[in-house]
């Protein structure tokens, strides 16, 4: 199940951009994650992606929040209550603080990254629960590349890509910091496709995602992401193939869009 959640989130990448012109404060996207076995779909969890404004004494940041919560029928079976958040510059989506607070079927983990872009260092904090209920912390300094981001900010960053300028087959590598390790993912533009979604029929950019040096995502061009081919570039549909089967992520509602 952990892999399932990871795969949902890893289905993203980024190109370098200058300005954020796709994401507004107060945007809320709701998705339904389901497990697909030979066409038989089982709804598992609700995934939400929200943005909000956070003011500090020095600046105004954008809070990018992703949550995953299993549906009632799954709570007794395998309860997931995950929270991922990233505090970014609203103009460039550069992350400054990242938090991952996950609770999956009795397993608890907390990760925190404090970025220092000048020194290219991330102050990482890992908190885990022992069997007796007590927590233990692990502090680490992780050296990162200039373009390295966390999963959440990457997820939003991708929406600012100039995909309309790309030709089918174009691909690029990106770096994500996950579990204190830099992971390279490849994003490939496949082409345009019109798909039917819960928010209407949408012309979309179809992208394929793969992770270098990892076998979490299986198959070639089997892990796909559809972003609306408009200025909002909202993710409306994602398909992924992992060891335990196929998963899908479908949009349920989208509110507070910029355009």
């Amino acid at each position: 199940m952990k892999k399932f959640v990871f795969a949902i989130i890893i289905l993203c990448g980024y190109y370098s951009i200058a300005q954020n012109n796709a994401i507004a404060f107060g945007e809320k996207l709701v998705f339904s994650a389901s497990y697909n076995m030979s066409g038989l779909l089982t709804d598992i969890a609700q995934v939400t992606m929200e943005t909000s404004e956070v003011k500090t004494s020095k600046s105004t940041l954008m809070r990018l929040k992703c949550t995953a919560a299993t549906y009632k029928k799954f709570d007794n079976f395998f309860k997931i209550r995950d929270l991922y958040e990233s505090y970014v510059n609203p103009k460039t989506l550069t992350p400054y603080l990242y938090k991952r607070d996950i609770s999956e079927g009795g397993y608890y983990k907390f990760m925190q990254y404090k970025y220092n872009h000048k020194t290219k260092l991330v102050q990482s904090l890992k908190r885990k629960k022992r069997k007796d209920g007590k927590t233990w912390d692990e502090n680490k300094n992780v050296k990162i590349g200039a373009a390295t981001k966390d999963i959440v900010s990457t997820l939003y960053y991708i929406r600012n890509l100039d995909i309309h300028k790309a030709s089918p087959g174009d691909q690029q590598d990106f770096t994500i910091l996950f579990d204190n390790k830099e992971t390279t993912i490849t994003l490939k533009y496949i082409g345009k496709e019109t798909i039917s979604t819960n928010i209407g029929s949408k012309a979309c950019y179809k992208l394929a995602i793969s992770i270098k040096g990892s076998d979490i995502l299986k198959g070639n061009n089997s892990n796909l992401l559809w972003l609306t081919a408009d200025e909002n570039k909202i993710p409306v549909y994602a398909k992924f193939k992992i060891a335990i089967g196929n998963g899908e992520l479908k949009i349920q509602s989208a509110t507070g869009l910029k355009h």
Binding site: S32, Y35, M37, S38, L40, L41, T42, D43, Q46, V54, T56, S57, K58, S59, T60, L61, R63, K65, T67, A69, T70, Y71, K72, K73, F74, D75, F77, K79, R81, L83, E85, Y87, N89, P90, K91, T92, T94, Y96, L97, K99, D101, S103, K114, Y115, N116, H117, K118
Partner: protein, 112 residues
């Protein structure tokens, strides 16, 4: 020999159907239910020729009916709604407050 194999297959799929019907993956139970039903039917037809009625038919059909009723009941009455998220909301609020404090100490090297 063939009949024995069908009985074993029928039993296994009927049990699998019941197990899946009990779990949240109840709609996946449809496949084993169909196989178990076909196996049950085959055993019934074969026994008709032999003029004997083995107990296995009753068990397979009984389990198939239980699994089918459970699956139909769940698909009709269970909606996809999120359960209790109070704890998650609490963690969300706590994290936000903690983050605000942490962000006060972070140096921003670009124009915000």
């Amino acid at each position: 020999m063939g009949k024995k194999l069908i009985v074993i297959l029928g039993f296994t799929t009927a049990v699998l159907g019941v197990i899946l019907a009990v779990t949240p993956f109840s709609n996946l139970a449809v496949v084993p239910i169909i196989i178990a039903f076909i196996c049950g039917l085959l055993i019934f037809l074969m026994s008709k020729k032999d003029q004997n009625k083995p107990k296995s038919i009753q068990y397979i059909f009984l389990m198939t009916i239980i699994a089918l009723v459970l699956t139909i009941y769940k698909s009709v009455y269970y909606t996809s709604e999120v359960g209790d998220t109070k704890q998650l909301e609490q963690r969300d609020e706590d994290n936000l407050e903690d983050s605000k404090e942490l962000l006060e100490d972070i140096e921003f090297d670009e124009d915000l």
